[in-house]
């Protein structure tokens, strides 16, 4: 198809009106409020409920909350989570009546799609999607976060229920070893 070039009229051929029109647009934006951000020095504050990177949390007494039930590993759609259960020789749980905690807990952040299923399925409220959205590393291996790193990044979760403490107290009040 041949597109015919439109003949310019006199006003258009004068050139300056078009340039001035352009400057008007530039000037209008020049005095407006700035919308760009000096990333990465300046960062966006994410809204409440934002689904960022999943991290593990400890409770207010410093106990690892995860009990290695592996439901997050099961539900994870991209198979980003990998848990090594403690077995019979693994580390005892921080709270003795919780009986177990993971020997190793890895999340491959290159695979994670931040869907939040792990947080939703967790029966112990041990994993939460936090506000980190920019994760970097210089190798693939570095992007696999291990248990230690996840717990350090996750921090403390103020658990209002404290299921295991409640169970232990109830058992002790009945004269049983929790």
């Amino acid at each position: 198809m041949i597109v015919k070039r439109k003949q310019l009229n006199l006003w258009e051929r004068l050139y300056l009106p078009a340039v001035i029109g352009g400057f008007k647009v530039t000037l209008r934006h020049f005095f407006r409020k700035k919308v760009t951000m000096q990333y990465p020095e300046e960062r966006w504050v994410v809204p409440e409920g934002y689904r960022g990177a999943p991290y593990l949390v400890k409770d207010q007494d410093g106990n690892t909350k995860c009990v290695s039930c592996q439901l997050c590993e099961f539900v994870c759609p991209p198979k980003a989570i990998r848990i090594t259960p403690p077995g019979s020789t693994g580390p005892g749980a921080d709270r003795s009546n919780a009986e177990k905690m993971p020997r190793e807990f890895e999340i491959n952040m290159l695979r994670c799609i931040f869907c939040g299923f792990c947080q939703e399925v967790c029966p112990e409220e041990a994993i939460f999607l936090m506000k980190d959205y920019s994760l970097n590393g210089t190798s693939r291996a570095e992007m696999i976060y291990n248990k230690e790193k996840l717990l350090a990044l996750g921090g403390v979760h103020n658990d209002p229920i404290r299921k295991w403490k409640h169970k232990a107290d109830e058992a002790r009040s009945q004269g049983m070893e929790p």
Partner: protein, 574 residues
């Protein structure tokens, strides 16, 4: 009662061993009596058995088809009715001529209520649904709900029935009764009394099936507690079956404790190889690692049980020092190129080398020692090779103490197969001294060893050193494999398919659960190549074809087919 006047009886109706009942309106014919699972004596058929025949699910905890009835969990409550009888002792009929059913005023437990002719059972009425929800609510009152740390989660009847029949929320606000947790019940079992629902399956199993009355319930009411008899450990050879039949997570296996969640496990139908009984098993594996064996029901062999000795004998399969590399003088000669040979090329070089050696071996100069732990197919191929070479053959017997339940004194899983194929001498092991003597006299120049360390069975390293060629295939390294000129890494039964013949002649097949490590290949694959290169006859290329070919040639297996074996096997003529 001898003084009572005998009641006038009408001529008895023709005796029938069947009776007709209706389950949810569907008529089924069921046997009048069913053998007692322990004594075998005929007992009246119960409502739950009629429901099974009618393929209607009735939830139950304490009932188990292989155990005596106890009737304590109340989960199988159903409503029922019987034909109404008038004052004239005749059935009352509906206007359309069918018998009128008088519905019983109360429910009954289906597991312990015998059937009567014309009985109607209702399992889907609103009352039954309410009763199930009510029973579950009671069972959950003192249950700790620690599913996240419970090994039973995923195969727990309390979880399953709660989803199917229970309520979504608990109404219980009082403190739960706390009981002993993490009780060491014996060398292989951990007990959590809080999770126990007191169904007594474990007590009945160990008392009536094993004959070791080790468990019981103490204390009263909500404080009922399962425990071992004081001063006695629960340590018989069948304890881990109680873990299988425990409907909840009260009894768990120490070996499997916190190893893997059950929903990750791939289940493969297999067989136990620890003795000649041939118990049917299910292998639970994930990502090429075996986590557990469980018994699989086969009423012709092991019922629903297996022994702890066989169940825990799986760790060697994943050992780090497994044989991984094919070794042959030819590939060593090709060194340093041998490093660049692919596994397939290494196998081809080794098999060709062995075939050349065997083809030029004078008749009678070859001997074979074939383990009775190899499959029927492998033994058949070797027997064929032995006939072509005129070789002296034998297997190594393993006779230890058996028990009266499942453990056989013969610890080779396939002694019968070795006898049927003609590899084993009669009695097994009789040819071993002859082979040793043959090597000593220089008469036997080539020895083929499959799956045995012959240095522990009368053919020492000095004798093996005299051989011109030692061909060994095994799974784990030993003195024989160390001395072998040709070393062919083989597969554990969990890494290949095949069949074993049990001590009673049951031919059963097993499936592949995990991949073999390194170069290791199923023995029947390279034996088939070797046999076809030496004898010039190409045999069947698949395990199915090989089995069918063997069934045609070995008299004991006549009439059997791979597909005809099914999941539970077929009987050979022994």
């Amino acid at each position: 009662m001898s003084t009572a006047t005998p009641i006038e009886t009408k001529p008895a109706p023709p005796p029938s061993d069947k009776l007709k009942v209706r389950v949810n309106g569907k008529e089924v014919e069921v046997p009048k009596t069913t053998p007692d699972p322990v004594s075998g004596k005929p007992l009246p058929t119960t409502m739950i058995q009629a429901c099974f025949i009618a393929k209607v699910e009735v939830p139950h905890y304490c009932y188990h088809p292989k155990l005596p009835v106890s009737g304590n969990c109340r989960m199988c409550l159903v409503e029922f009715g019987t034909p109404a009888i008038g004052p004239d002792r005749k059935p009352i009929l509906n206007p359309d001529g069918t018998p009128k059913i008088a519905k019983a005023p109360r429910p009954a437990i289906a597991c312990a209520t015998p059937l009567s002719p014309g009985m109607e059972i209702y399992t889907d009425t609103p009352t039954v649904k309410l009763m199930r929800a009510g029973v579950l609510e009671f069972l959950l009152i003192n249950h700790p709900l620690d599913c996240p740390i419970c090994d039973q989660a995923g195969e727990c009847k309390l979880q399953e029935y709660s989803v199917d029949y229970g309520q979504s929320e608990s109404r219980f606000v009082e403190a739960k009764v706390h009981k002993p947790k993490r009780v060491d019940l014996g060398p292989r079992i951990v007990l959590d009394d809080e999770r126990c629902i007191l169904c007594t399956r474990c007590i009945r199993f160990t008392r009536d099936i094993v004959g070791d009355d080790a468990l019981g319930i103490v204390n009263r009411g909500s404080h009922n507690t399962l425990t071992a008899y004081p001063g006695r450990a629960f340590d018989n050879n069948y304890t881990l079956n109680t873990v299988d039949i425990c409907p909840v997570g009260a009894l768990t296996s120490k070996d499997f404790r916190f190893q893997m969640r059950v929903w990750f496990l791939k289940e493969t139908k297999s067989l136990c190889t620890s003795c000649a009984t041939g118990c049917n098993t299910v292998i639970g594996s994930r990502e090429e690692k075996i986590y557990r064996y469980e018994p699989r029901e086969n009423n012709a062999v092991n019922g629903s049980w297996m022994c702890d000795h066989g169940r825990l004998n799986y760790k060697w399969i994943g050992r780090e020092d497994r044989l991984r590399e094919v070794c042959s003088p030819q590939s060593t000669a090709l060194s340093p190129q041998s490093a660049v040979l692919s596994p397939a090329e290494r196998w081809a070089v080794a098999v060709r080398g062995i075939a050349e050696k065997l083809k030029h071996a004078p008749a009678g100069s070859v001997a074979m020692i074939v383990s009775a732990r190899q499959t029927n197919e492998e033994i058949y191929l070797l027997a064929k090779l032995a006939r072509a070479l005129g070789a002296l053959t034998d297997s190594v017997p393993r006779i230890l103490e058996g028990d009266r339940l499942l453990l056989s004194a013969d610890r080779n899983p396939n002694s019968t197969g070795a006898r049927l194929a003609g590899i084993a001498a009669d009695p097994m092991g009789a040819n071993l001294p002859k082979i040793a003597e043959g090597i000593r006299s220089g008469h036997i120049r080539t020895l083929i060893v499959l799956g045995e360390d012959v240095t522990r069975h009368g053919i020492g390293a000095d004798l093996l050193g005299k051989l011109e060629t030692l061909i060994a295939s095994d799974i784990l390294p030993n003195e024989t494999t160390r001395l072998a000129h040709y070393l062919l890494p083989g597969c554990a039964h969990a890494e290949k398919r095949g069949t074993f013949t049990s001590t009673k002649g049951r031919v059963q097949k097993f499936m592949k659960a995990v991949e073999p490590p390194g170069d290791a290949r199923p023995e029947w694959e390279f034996l088939r190549e070797l046999a076809s290169q030496v004898t010039g006859q190409a045999g069947a290329a698949s395990i199915e074809g090989l089995f069918n070919q063997m069934a045609g040639e070995v008299p004991g297996f006549h009439g059997l087919t791979w597909s005809g074996l099914g999941d539970t096997g077929a009987t050979a003529t022994i």
